[in-house]
Symmetry: C2
Subunit: 682 residues, 2 copies
Amino acid sequence: MATTTESQPGATDREPEVRDDPEAVTPPTDDLSDDERALLVDNLRYALDGRWRATRDTVRELSARGDLLPDPSRTLDEARARILGEMRELAQSGFATAGFAADHGGTGDVGASITAIEMLGYADLSLMVKSGVQWGLFGGAVENLGTARHHDRYVAGIIDLDLLGCFAMTETGHGSNVQALETTATYDPQTREFIIDSPTPSSRKDYIGGAAQHATTAAVFAQLITAGPGEEPESRGVHCFVVPIRDSDGNDLPGVTTSDCGYKGGLPGVDNGRIMFDHVRVPAENLLNRYADVEADGTYTSPIENPNRRFFTMLGTLIRGRVSVAATAGAAGRKALTLAGRYGLIRKQFEAPDADNEILVMDYLGHQRKLLPLIAKSYAIAFAQNELTEELHELQSVRDDASDDEVDDGRQRELESAAAGLKAYATWHASQAINVSREACGGAGYLDENQISLIRGDIDVFTTFEGDNTVLTQLVAKELLSAYAEDVRGLSAGGWVRFIATMARDVVVEKTAVRQVVQTLLEGSDEDTEKSNLTDRGTQLRLFRNREDHLIRTCAQRLRRANDDDNDPFEVFNNAQDHLLKVGRVHTERIVLEAFVQAIDECDSRSAAQLLGKVCDLFVYSALEDDLAWFLMHRHVSVERAKAIRRGVNELCLELRPHLRSLVDAFGIPEELLAAPMLEHG
Amino acid sequence: MATTTESQPGATDREPEVRDDPEAVTPPTDDLSDDERALLVDNLRYALDGRWRATRDTVRELSARGDLLPDPSRTLDEARARILGEMRELAQSGFATAGFAADHGGTGDVGASITAIEMLGYADLSLMVKSGVQWGLFGGAVENLGTARHHDRYVAGIIDLDLLGCFAMTETGHGSNVQALETTATYDPQTREFIIDSPTPSSRKDYIGGAAQHATTAAVFAQLITAGPGEEPESRGVHCFVVPIRDSDGNDLPGVTTSDCGYKGGLPGVDNGRIMFDHVRVPAENLLNRYADVEADGTYTSPIENPNRRFFTMLGTLIRGRVSVAATAGAAGRKALTLAGRYGLIRKQFEAPDADNEILVMDYLGHQRKLLPLIAKSYAIAFAQNELTEELHELQSVRDDASDDEVDDGRQRELESAAAGLKAYATWHASQAINVSREACGGAGYLDENQISLIRGDIDVFTTFEGDNTVLTQLVAKELLSAYAEDVRGLSAGGWVRFIATMARDVVVEKTAVRQVVQTLLEGSDEDTEKSNLTDRGTQLRLFRNREDHLIRTCAQRLRRANDDDNDPFEVFNNAQDHLLKVGRVHTERIVLEAFVQAIDECDSRSAAQLLGKVCDLFVYSALEDDLAWFLMHRHVSVERAKAIRRGVNELCLELRPHLRSLVDAFGIPEELLAAPMLEHG
């Protein structure tokens, strides 16, 4: 598939204007000619599609088939077989090559590979998840944790599906706390093998996509136990091993017991299962040994001395899965909002006064207030996601070209933090957007033929897998508060608090170099946010930044109480947990706003940029409204301004209402994938 | 089944103490002996079970069978057949008799019938919904809109399922706006028949439970068209007709075309379908003629002259369905919270400092904050629901014994408003509680074997059916603002606003006679809410009441702008819609709080009452926290108090944490219905 990343739309279909008239207002869509509206939608989509717009178009073309949509009449077996079949078709079209380096048999375009996976979310989330497991997680583990011997042996088969794999990290007893996994991989120097074992019921691998049926091989995360000459066997922490689990007839291999997680809240096409290992032997070379190895005599070696750092470095390379999940949640939310938005534009209910016609439900303020703020937030998240994908692409591309030492460690930590924060923010948003969309379509929304109920079932687990949202949000806050200090990760809650409490200096978080556009806007706005207009972008940025700074500062103060001998560190941590979670959320929201601001700045169509500006206003106003109690309580907004914010949301909804159709059309979801009988009759 | 309503628990297992020591604090459950804890749970359950506790126990016994739980491996046909089979078993045990008057072949205990249906929600929501359609909606229409000829002919068959019915109200084009239904029933004086017809695609009956497969007869809501001698045929508004739709082999009768809504977001055991009528003739006596009739010559007669009043009187008798749906949503929420609560008490994650063990997830404040406020709100809603059921029982029992004129019209209007408000409040709460519970159980929560994901799919439509929640919430506000004025119902939005705007007097809503306990508490509290302690119940009541009064007053002021000639009445209405919706919500929340206060007052166990007091505090504090921006903006709480509210939620969570198991055990869900593998291994 095409992976060009720098294509520009043909000059013929672009609006050449520059933003020379800041006072000009985009007229409501109703007042635009068909051509003007098409151009506006095209320009909005150009902005939303971002750097990998060519990839998006390729997948749009590939997936614009109604028969790709999930069919709830399929049995579990049929659904699973169907998705595997669809993956085979994708594989044949070269879908998976972008995710692997050129010298491993791929084309080495990480950003394209994530974007492509995301686009599958418009078709069938089971297809996205199972593809993500095979190519992103299993393939990603081999690609990023393995070395040449693994790349040579496995990557081609992973790309073309000759080798079906699964990603066996989570255990029944451990999901979030990966460092405490119980599966063991004990090195036997006599045979130069690792013995993979599940010593306890809670060490069972669980919820593993592909483990129930299709995967013949697993990337197994296990405690590596080995002893060098004269040493006692000792755990060296969690490492990843390639372990065959099934023969070609689908039978469990000796010592392996798989089972089926069965029916779930959604994602019927993904065969989640469980794996128990009873002293299963694999050759020593099955250790994915990029970051650590065991010599023939059992001596453990690693270029990274600190075990915590080693563990988190390994995990960090697997971040692609998390980024893909965030991206796809965004796509799923956009699809549900498109379906609900379009339905609201044909569904009528209750008569208008002095008129024979009934009122379009989208003309009710209450309905606008349900959907438009979520659409605005979807725009914001889409822009932030594009930046995240791009940063991941840049970092992983650098890494592939250079020795590990050259990678900017701080930049990697920030990327991981941003990925964690956006994954939580985007998946919670998607859940909410899809729930609201379902309800906004009434009974029609509950019928699977109209798709939203299916998306709702599929998306639910996105807040859980690839990192529980609460844990991830907390992670963001912890990283901020400890200013990405080395050796903090892996500490227990109490240990972490003690670290914070004893940090000599004041926690003043140094934010990443402020982007130019934000800097300019900040400089152009009054430091006293009450003095400037709330539609002033600089003021909006200040409000978000001030909230974050305030929360970080006060949270650090609270945590420092752990210094007091009378206080139990865990209790200090726990009592501040809601505060900590809020730090994580508002930090991410600030990043999301800044990405939106950047995207508007980069939009070269005046009418599109103006409309995006209004959408950004609505995003800001409703984010402020959602957190208004905090802003009032901490005197960051006055009562008068608070009231203006509530009014402003209403006014922006009314103002954007005529553009609603353009706004959802710009998501660029193939029409074939929006098939829904409710959109035919209203 | 037993329908005794006044059973009292045996003296032996009740705590005889009176609440003589207001300072005493219930010790944490951990400090209680097993017997003390059992007694506490028993007393809490006694309070929660309310007047129809005997009915609850009967259904508990009847339903304590694991094989009643939904099984996702069933095909749609199997699931539907299974639920029908379970209904037949229920029918044999006399389950449905309570819902019908003694002289129609029932036992005439409305409250017991609603409570029994609610309790089915602990087993399988498909069973509850299909039972509710047959006995509550279809049976309720015949019972309440029909006369002796219908009771004699149909009720026995409805009770024992010889006659399977459906409730054909909603149409593809009209859900909320029932008055605008398009199906026609035209009287033909030649043959003394009604001709039932679906004149347009949008007049198709849609989403009708039972219409896809099992129902042989429909209660069809249609515009009654007739002409008396010398008159032109004219629509007399929506009336209900008994219309056979299928023969005993399941074939559509001539002129009837049914179809299947197919797969849905949940409720697979309910066969929702569609019906089109092509000039189907039914005998004149099939009109359910309690409130209107057509004489042989076509003359239309009704004891209620005003068509609007007639329509709403008919609808009002059908309120049982709405009340049952609210009650069941409460049950579903409690079940999900019980599963998640119990899981949180065995699931551990991340190590405690200085300890080998990992921390119970329920010991994290973040986790407590997810579940405990929802549990507290579930208590509040359960008490309000008990009152609602009781009031419905009283009113419908009175009506059955007396002529219609004796029914207190105002009391009926208030009941309908309370039912609308609580239905919306309880079903939104249930959706949220179930979503949060799923997420709180992580991957385990997503597996159908652990039930929450199934409940999540089933409950989703509860916010839509039996009245869209937004429409219902608005209805509550409109009734309040027009002080239940006659002839306001049925007006368009604009017409209603004009009415409000021209009301001579100030809108000062006269609340229902204040209950004694509330009056006493109000009198004992300072009028200035800032001056008294926030744990003071009177102060809490004042805050809720003041908020409601403030919102009603200011909303009326806004709406009065419609008096101004420059303003379009619909625009005035629409611009205030968010305000109006808020009025509806806060009014219901005030009613819910007062029901909680009443229940605590009536609790004769000191330790249970004390614990309920803490639960009520948490309900109040988190309700205040959820709406803190409003309270601050309108200066009903100070910034200092706002901070105390946030802290208070945390403190109450910590305080109630040791009681969590008791609090969910008191819901009294049969252990067999809580089967979930995740509760075995954590």
